[in-house]
Symmetry: C2
Subunit: 206 residues, 2 copies
């Protein structure tokens, strides 16, 4: 399979949501133009993104919403549940533990970690707080696939290294710093000020 | 000026951070290849993104890191401070109030709103909680430019409408729902499960 760009994958996630909303509205078929319009992009982009994965829909008839959502869900790996661990239970960490969108897409936080002795062994929203040094044992026990990093910048690299040593290969990083990882490990960075910058650009240019 | 795509603006934010890190490491010039490499994209993409805004750097000499960061900051509107309001002080809202990255890029939360009588008029991290019905008065007094929406899905549209009625044109929306706004209003949606889906894609395909 061709190497697919991160932006294509990000747009597939967006189409997946759009299709979900259309299905809720009982819409059975949809054109690439309509999907494009709902997301502020061109229909050529929609068709190009989908073409990487095969032929969907029929020329002139559009896409069946249910079938296309199903297919995109399969491509994105959303047909299974994922066991997620969370490292760092400060403000952001606590907000993420019961973030409804994670569960809705099949991402379940099964283990939480911190290194603060005051927090370790306490319970938070039904989950026991483990010490960060116990990652290997707990990650194995809970069959963790993905780890969310919500620790301070100064600890982010070492905490990720600990998880990598236990075989974890996928991280969502909320610490605003660049992380170095081996080639077979993927880190997605979540920096919430980037979207604000798109707004300041908009307000500056318009 | 040509219409610039959202992905280009998002990448400018990324280059801005990369340049900041290079400057911290005392790096004075950088090639498009190096910027590309640090961000996992092609150097042609970096050059294309920058070319929308003029000619930077000298052929064969690369870019001056300080000058390019400064220029991108100017393009993104980061040479000024922005006054931000936050609506909804649940878990995510509370995590955002003291999110360091916002302040670092010049986004200052100056007013917070909720509709819970238990919370209104209380104080949170030095800010008084205002009732959502007082948006116009407070937004004017605090010269608010941008509003972050962290209210439940069922309230998101009506809260955004209230702010639009007071002249606000830029929103960062954390409520996982599509929002309808007039053409001169910009809403950026922050859905933290989208990055997790890129990870599940990666784990599924590799």
């Amino acid at each position: 399979m061709k190497k697919i760009s991160d932006s294509t994958i990000g747009r597939l996630s967006t189409y997946y949501r759009t299709l979900g909303e259309l299905i809720e509205q009982k819409v059975q078929t949809v054109s690439s133009e309509k999907i494009a319009d709902l997301n502020g992009i061109t229909s050529a982009q929609v068709r190009k993104d989908l073409s990487f994965f095969g032929t969907f829909g029929k020329r002139g008839l559009g896409y069946n919403t249910v079938a296309l959502k199903d297919e995109i869900g399969r491509i994105l790996g959303l047909k299974q549940n994922w066991n997620v661990a969370l490292a760092g239970i400060g403000n952001i960490g606590r907000a993420l533990i019961d973030y409804g969108e994670f569960k809705k897409q099949g991402f379940f936080i099964k283990a939480i970690f911190d290194n603060d002795p005051q927090k370790v062994n306490s319970e938070l929203k039904g989950l026991k707080v483990h010490h960060i040094d116990d990652v290997c044992e707990i990650a194995k026990k809970e069959k963790i696939n993905i780890v969310i990093i919500a620790v301070p910048v100064k600890n982010a690299q070492s905490v990720i290294d600990q998880f990598i040593d236990c075989g974890i290969r996928a991280f969502l990083n909320f610490a605003p710093t660049s992380i170095k990882v081996p080639g077979d490990v993927m880190v997605k960075n979540e920096n919430m000020s980037i979207e604000l910058e798109a707004l300041s650009y908009y307000l500056t240019q318009n």
